[in-house]
């Protein structure tokens, strides 16, 4: 399994198995900690969590011990690692859900694990029936999921180089300010992610929510996961205001937060993406508030709750106090597909990609008039390379393709057209909850099992910003083709000898 044993494809394989090993160990750790948390209460699921966690941990550690790290980090190695981590962590979490008795159906457990890790707010779990340790396990999974997407989106960039994940590539220069190496970039992300979680935890706790529920709500906010603890904590106005602030921060690029933390506010003033992000938040919040016809402070808060939840793709269930117009559903669907800023924990194809596409469209219009004009697309006065622009276009195409394929699949599985498109966009953008055209929240537990299964690939693709999955799949296909050709050569050799 090591690098030297399989020299022709071992680098990729090492990345793959490192991802699997990491997935096993991470889920093991979360499972054991959750089990131990359970001991503070009745601990009804603690034995299952401890046993399963220990077994996964041993397996993961063994696997890690026999793998040699890749000698050089290629983009495909890293993407294979992230992809295998995603699959491994999802399957291990599925196993934990099954062992802990959350559900006895594999596909439902798989769906819940996917929803948790991908930070998609489309859970079917009945929270009131969950043991605290399972709640904790579920909450921490989304926190891990949010962290993974941040590391994928920024920290690997200096290592991978310029032709890697396009959304990450677009942010390359930005991300470099997080750290010149993978280690420092990861450190920078942790330095923001962990304290931000703690601050939100503290803030929620101050509202009288309780330490446990405050923690769950904090990890849910910071990871844009949208998973709520028991007892509808969002009924409290103070909690809502904190959630609005938390979601706005979570939808912001971590580079922005890093600069803010280092008191480099001046650099942020020129950020077009940041300005658009807050413009969308504020203007749509006001549109919702004013157009709904209820001018109370409560409705103002609810309107901003709905919009910040959609833009940051967190998915906290919120309803406005006034009249819900059909256009609101369409607007929310649109801003959910776009999501927050590049380099944030939010889903969607991000505002930066949208700016690039708009400027690309303008360039093509100019080229209609002046075929020999040379126009570079810029963001914040910085010209982007053509490969970055191409990648943004490809990412957009892939995003739409995933949405379309998922919509077709889920409609075949039984959803009506609008619901299929709605569910598909929310899954790919790792957002939620889904609303009907009348503004009612749709309960995913009412969907059939085949419908939920069709949404899982979209969630994982959206979580990992599509490319790593496809690149890993491409590598795997190449590997299979290579093996097949090798087999055919052997067969031909045997036939030759027989002649």
């Amino acid at each position: 399994m090591g690098y030297k044993k399989l020299p022709d494809w071992a680098s990729w394989t090492s990345g793959l198995f490192l991802g699997i090993s990491s997935g096993l160990q991470v889920v093991s750790f979360v499972s054991i900690v959750s089990g131990l948390i359970g001991l503070t209460g009745t601990g009804s699921q603690t034995p299952e969590l401890l046993v399963a966690g220990t077994c996964l941990g041993i397996l993961g550690t063994y696997l890690f011990s026999i793998i040699r790290p890749p000698e050089q980090l290629r983009a495909s190695d890293i993407f294979a690692g992230f992809f295998s981590f995603a699959i491994s962590a999802t399957l291990c979490s599925t196993l934990i859900f099954l062992i802990a008795g959350v559900t006895n159906q594999f596909d439902t457990a798989l769906y819940e694990a996917s929803v948790a890790l991908t930070t998609t707010a489309l859970s079917t779990l009945d929270i009131s029936r969950l043991a605290p340790e399972i709640e904790f396990f579920r909450g921490i999974l989304q926190w891990i999921g949010g962290l993974v997407v941040l590391i994928l989106g920024a920290a690997i960039i200096p290592v991978v180089g310029t032709r890697s994940n396009p959304s990450a590539h677009i942010e390359r220069n930005e991300a470099l300010s997080l750290g010149a190496t993978r280690r420092t970039a990861v450190y920078s992300i942790l330095v923001i992610y962990v304290p931000l979680s703690i601050i939100l935890w503290f803030a929620y706790s101050l509202t009288g929510l309780g330490i446990f529920d405050g923690l769950l709500l904090a990890v849910s906010t910071v990871s844009t996961g949208g998973f709520l603890p028991q007892g509808n904590p969002l009924a409290n106005g103070a909690v809502q205001w904190i959630a609005i602030a938390g979601m706005c921060i979570s939808g912001t690029s971590f580079v922005v937060l890093w600069r803010l933390a280092r008191n480099k506010v001046g650099e942020l003033k020129s950020s077009l993406e940041l300005r658009i992000y807050f413009l969308v938040l504020i203007s749509l919040g006001l549109v919702l508030f004013l157009a709904s016809g209820n001018y109370s402070l409560i409705n103002l808060r609810s309107s901003f709750m709905v919009i910040s939840s959609a833009v940051s793709t967190t998915g906290f269930p919120a309803v406005i106090q006034g009249e819900w117009l059909p256009v609101f559903t369409v607007l929310i669907l649109l801003i959910t597909a776009i999501g927050g800023m590049a380099g944030s924990a939010s889903g969607g194809f991000n505002i930066r990609s949208l700016i690039i596409l708009l400027r690309l469209s303008m360039r093509e219009l100019v080229r209609q008039l002046h075929p020999r004009s040379v126009v570079r697309i810029r963001i914040d006065d910085k010209p982007l390379s053509e490969s970055t622009v191409e990648h943004a276009v490809v990412l957009q195409f892939l995003f739409i393709s995933v949405v379309v394929i998922t919509a077709v699949s889920s409609s075949i599985a039984g959803l009506d057209l609008f619901s299929a498109i709605n569910a598909s966009i929310h899954s790919t953008a790792t957002a939620g909850p889904i609303r009907s055209i009348e503004g009612d929240l749709v309960d995913p537990s009412l969907w059939t099992r085949p419908i939920r299964v069709t949404l899982i690939p979209a969630m994982i693709l959206g979580w990992l910003t599509i490319f790593p999955v496809l690149i890993a799949a491409g590598e795997f296909t190449s590997f299979l083709k290579g093996r097949l050709k090798s087999f055919r050569r052997q067969v031909l050799k045997v036939k030759e000898r027989q002649r």
Binding site: V366, H370, R372, S373, V374, V375, R376, R378, D381, P383
Partner: protein, 464 residues
């Protein structure tokens, strides 16, 4: 004065030639092929040295130990700075360094070269860009020089048929301007026949004619009035097309964009076009050849307010300017009210200038003269505060400071003994400009602006 010029490129050769009229000049060139060219050039009567300015041995051969001034004008900033530092170490008191990198044009680097009056940093591209900007601010002007700390302006323009000056005699003009003249006509360049033109110092019975190329010395505050009388009053251009995307074009485009002018640039090299597109935020960049008519039409050349040709190829610059004029004339003929674009051509070969005059290319500029102005100004700063060189007629404009020991101090201009080829244009007294008259008396601390031919410059200097 012993002068060493390092780098025998376009600028270095011209500066060496100009300085050699009054000084002992050595010209250094490290490229063998280029060295052979200048060594065999009979029109260039300077001491040529094969070697690099960064080589102490070569500098010694050029006479660095006796030199008073080193002018390092190669295209390599580092080499220029190193040559200047080596010269300074060898005892050369004053240095002129060509530095293109803005990062190197700072106080720290300046301190390495010594006190502010002992060195000069120049950038030929920027000098040309600034000259173009000055011409664009007054689109009808062919050339414009600011003297006396900017209080006095010398402007050159060709009189159009409808100019208020046309048909006016200088005597009549003088009566109109009494008692305090705001401007005076310093020279008239007139077409004698198809092939010949003549520059003359105007007399009072001279009548100004259509097509006369006038050089007018005026107070800065009267510039608008002079522009109006010259019949060349126009608005600042709103659309500019730059032909060629070299460094000068880039600097020019940056300045124009800051002045809210719509700028388009045509560059032949695709890679350079990409670079320009990356660095110039609000300019439209085209990748194409400026001699390609389709390219010029795509860039809407006829509808531009101004077209500036800045490539390194004189013939391409001239042809493109001529095409721009004809395209503008065609459009003007099609639609009433439209005007032809003003054109400015950067010309490297000075001998082409006569041809350009007869073909109405518009204003012309030379990187050589732009740089030479700065260098000569610095060289003569001991006795002349400022000097500029006109491209046409090879006339020099000098600025002198009168001291209590000056020979002309206390004398009337008419009696001071100026050569016939010289004209005292303006005097800056207590910071206030006044147009010089024959009866004006020189006083201590006056700054005097004189137009003369280069040969008379030294004898005029002796009067101060």
């Amino acid at each position: 004065m012993k002068v060493i010029v390092v780098g025998a490129g376009e600028v270095g050769t011209y500066v060496a030639d100009r300085l050699n009229r009054h000084h002992d000049v050595s010209l250094m060139e490290k490229n063998q092929e280029r060295f052979n060219q200048i060594d065999t050039d009979k029109s260039l009567d300077v001491l040529t040295i094969l070697g690099s300015g960064t080589d102490p041995e070569a500098l010694k051969r050029a006479g660095v130990e006796e030199a008073d001034l080193l002018v390092a004008v190669t295209k390599n900033d580092d080499a220029n700075l190193l040559a200047a530092l080596l010269a300074k170490q060898a005892g050369v008191k004053r240095t002129v360094v060509r530095v293109e990198s803005r990062g190197l044009r700072n106080k720290e680097v300046g301190q390495l070269l010594g006190s502010a009056d002992s060195h000069l940093m120049i950038d030929p591209d920027e000098e040309v860009a600034q000259d173009v900007i000055r011409l664009m601010e007054y689109p009808g002007a062919l050339d414009m020089v600011h003297m006396g700390g900017g209080e006095v302006v010398i402007i050159g323009a060709k009189l159009p048929p409808d100019a208020p000056f046309v048909g006016v005699s200088l005597e009549q003009l003088g009566k109109d301007l009494e008692p305090d003249w705001e401007f005076m006509i310093a020279s008239i360049t007139r077409q004698v026949n198809e092939d010949e033109e003549k520059t003359l110092i105007p007399r009072k019975n001279e009548i100004l004619q259509e097509g006369d190329l006038l050089r007018v010395i005026c107070k800065r505050r009267s510039l608008r009035d002079v522009i109006r009388r010259l019949g060349i009053e126009r608005d600042m251009p709103a659309r500019a097309l730059l032909l060629g995307g070299g460094r000068t074009a880039q600097l020019l485009a940056e300045s124009l964009v800051e002045k809210a002018v719509d700028v388009a640039v045509i560059e032949k090299d695709p890679k350079r076009a990409e670079e320009l597109s990356a660095s110039l935020k609000h300019a439209l960049i085209f990748n194409g050849d400026i001699t390609d008519v389709d390219m010029l039409e795509e860039a809407d050349v006829g509808r531009q307010d101004i077209v500036v040709a800045l490539t390194g190829e004189d013939d391409a610059n001239v042809l493109a300017c001529l095409y721009a004029k004809s395209a503008g004339a065609r459009i003007a003929g099609d639609s009433n009210g439209a005007s032809t674009p003003k054109t400015i051509a950067v010309v490297h070969r000075l001998k082409l200038l006569d041809l350009l005059d007869t073909h109405d290319v518009g204003a012309t500029l030379s990187p050589r003269t732009a740089t030479a102005n700065s260098v000569l100004r610095f060289v003569r700063s001991g006795d002349a505060a400022q000097i500029a060189t006109y491209l046409h007629g090879d006339a020099e404009i000098l600025e002198f400071a009168v001291t209590d020991t000056s020979e002309c101090e206390g004398k009337r201009i008419a009696d001071a003994g100026f050569p016939k080829e010289a004209l005292v244009g303006a005097i800056l007294r207590d910071g206030k400009p006044q147009i010089a008259r024959g009866s004006t008396v020189f006083r201590d601390r006056d700054h005097v602006i004189v137009i003369s031919n280069p040969e008379s410059a030294e004898s005029i200097g002796q009067l101060f």
